[in-house]
Structure formats: structure tokens, C-alpha cells
Amino acid sequence: MPLHCDLQKIALWRDEVHAGDRVLLSGVCYTARDAAHKRLLELIEQGKELPFCVSGAAIYYAGPSATPDGAVIGSCGPTTSSRMDPFTPALLKLGLACAIGKGERSDLIRRQMQEHRALYFCATGGCGALYAKHIVENRTIAFEDLGCEAIRELVLRDFPVYCAYDLCGADLFCKE
């Protein structure tokens, strides 16, 4: 049975989730891909205010396609998480609580996520149409000039993911 988890109460349940668990996420998260991460890192380096509060936040590595008429959002599948690895440590230091993406990450990031008590969830590639159905609100909040790579605030409802890295250090991708 999948676990129903509220992203705004992640502190309450993050210890209970283990690698391999199927989780249905609900609540607010922010989309950001490579270009948006680069800009976030620049803002952090310059000591400027970020477009959203990273502490306790969840980031979904995705760039949704154009929103069709009458829909909340276009197809919104995950992108490869490892491309975000160079930017993740800075965000973890600011208190990033959860990342959602696709595929494995480097050992360094896996260890750092465990150290900062952050969870990493895997969304399934190729299921963008299904994921769009589980997004109930969509609002662009920053870097609109980046198009699909702009930062969006999404409200998820029962968004199906798998826990890939848990707080015990377990790894869904472990091949040993």
C-alpha cells in the first residue's frame, strides 16, 4: 500500500519512509531544472533573496510542456537528477528537505542528503501525462524568461513516487 505524505509536514514522516517505498505526495513543491538551478546558485553566491524559501521545501526536477486549454499544466515528467548534482549541496545547506527526479545521483549527493536529512524520491520517466493529472495548481513564480525551465509553484495531490534515498542511507539503486 502506498504511503500518503504531506510535503508541508515532511518533518513528521521523513524518518518513516524507506528506500523502495511507494509514496503519494501531496502539497506544494517547486519545479527547477538546470538553468533555474544555475540562477539559484548565482543568487546564493551573491547573497540575494531566493524566489522561494528553500528551507523545508521540495524541488521537482521537471520542465512541464505548454499548458493545453482547460488543463492545469502540460505533460510534467521528471528530468535526470544527476544533472542537478553540482547545485544540490548549496541548496541542502539552506535546508532543502526533499528532491524529486529521475535516476541515480552521485555518492557524494546521496551522502550529503543523508547528512542533511533530506529525502530523494524518484518519479517514473515517460509518465508525464499521468503526473500532470496529479498537479492541481500551477503558478510561475520566477525566471519566466526561461520558458519551460522557469520556477513554478505546483500543488500536488497523490503524486506517485518511490523513495530512492532514505534517511538511513538505504539506496533503491544499490547493486551490491
Binding site: 523502495g20 517514473t124 501525462a129 499521468l130
Partner: protein, 201 residues
């Protein structure tokens, strides 16, 4: 394994302590292997559940895509219907253009008929005056194109009357043809109910 060890010791004379040690080692190894198998089975079970749920997720995604395909198909049909309506409107506009050209030609034809009728009417009036004023032929000098004689001889009067009646007959025929034609056309500036009777000429 333990039975084999005992059998071997019976046959080849191993010491009991050696046999026990051997059995203990084998048991230990068995336990370790069992533990490993249990772990592998647990991992296998975890992956099985993971892949089953992935499969389920893909099936759900497929259902959503099918739904989208149905919607797209309906939209495509609507577009095709709209294209049909648009083409029909275009054809109607083309027909309207053709009608407008035909109407323009009809108006031009009607004008020609009208001018012709006026000419005939004028000719008929002239001839009537000539007939009525046969005793005053000098007054017809204003019609050089007819080249009438100054005085009409008595014998030729009947011929002249016949010619006038023929001309009137031809005029009536032309006028009838004109008004018959003009009834079919709407002449701009001319009220629809204003019809002319050819016989009034």
C-alpha cells in the same frame, strides 16, 4: 552434509572431535548462506513490488494517454467539420460574386433595351405626327434621317400607313421583349412595382 561426514568418518576413521568441528563449520556456513538467500529474497521481493508498481504506473499513464487521444480525435473531427463549413461559406461567397456579375450584366442589358425602346418610341411619335400632318409636309423637315418627300402623293398614303403600322408592330414586339426581359432583372433605382405595359406604347 553432516550424514556424509559421519559416513566418511566411519569408513576412514576420523576422530569424533574432527567430525563435530566439521559439522559445526558446515552448519555455520549453511546459516550464513540461508541468511544471504533470505536477504536476496527480500531484495528480490522489494524489486518485484517496485517493478509491479512501476508497471501499474505505466498502465495508468497509458490510460491517461488513451483518454487524451480520444479528446484529440474529437478535436480533430471538430476541426474537419469546421473546415467543411468554411469551404461551404467560401463556395457561397463565390456564387454570390457570380450572381453579382450576372446582375451587373443584366443591368447593362436592360439599359441597352431601355435606350432602344426610347429610340423606337421617338420614331413612332415622329411617324404619328407625319401621318397626322400629311397635309403639312413642310413641318417634317426636322427629320433629315427619314428623308421624307415634301408632299406625300395620294397613292402612297396607304403604303405609308402600312409602313407605319408595321413599324408600330415591330416596336411593340421589341418593347414586349424588353419588358419581358426587364421583369427578370432588378434595375437599380427603378421601383419593383413599376411595370410598363408594352401596349401603352
Amino acid at each position: 552434509m553432516a550424514k556424509t561426514a559421519l559416513f566418511r568418518s566411519a569408513m576412514f576413521g576420523y576422530h569424533k572431535s574432527e567430525v563435530n568441528e566439521f559439522i559445526a563449520k558446515q552448519n555455520e556456513r549453511n546459516l550464513a548462506l540461508k541468511k544471504e538467500v533470505a536477504e536476496l529474497e527480500a531484495r528480490f521481493e522489494q524489486y518485484r513490488r517496485y517493478y509491479e508498481s512501476l508497471l501499474q504506473l505505466h498502465q495508468e499513464n497509458l490510460a491517461v494517454l488513451r483518454e487524451m487521444r480520444v479528446r484529440a480525435s474529437k478535436n480533430a473531427q471538430t476541426v474537419r467539420d469546421l473546415q467543411g463549413v468554411f469551404e461551404s461559406i467560401c463556395a457561397s461567397y463565390q456564387k454570390l460574386d457570380e450572381f453579382a456579375k450576372q446582375q451587373q450584366q443584366a443591368v447593362l442589358s436592360a439599359k441597352v433595351y431601355e435606350e432602344k425602346a426610347l429610340k423606337y418610341e421617338s420614331l413612332a411619335n415622329t411617324m404619328r405626327e407625319m401621318v397626322l400632318q400629311k397635309d403639312a409636309p413642310e413641318q417634317t423637315s426636322g427629320l433629315p434621317e427619314l428623308e421624307l418627300p415634301q408632299a406625300i402623293p395620294e397613292g402612297e398614303f396607304d403604303d405609308l400607313m402600312c409602313a407605319a403600322e408595321d413599324a408600330l408592330g415591330a416596336l411593340n414586339a421589341d418593347a414586349s421583349a424588353f419588358f419581358a426581359a426587364s421583369d427578370r432583372f432588378q434595375i437599380p433605382g427603378k421601383p419593383e412595382n413599376e411595370t410598363q405595359d408594352a401596349s401603352s406604347l
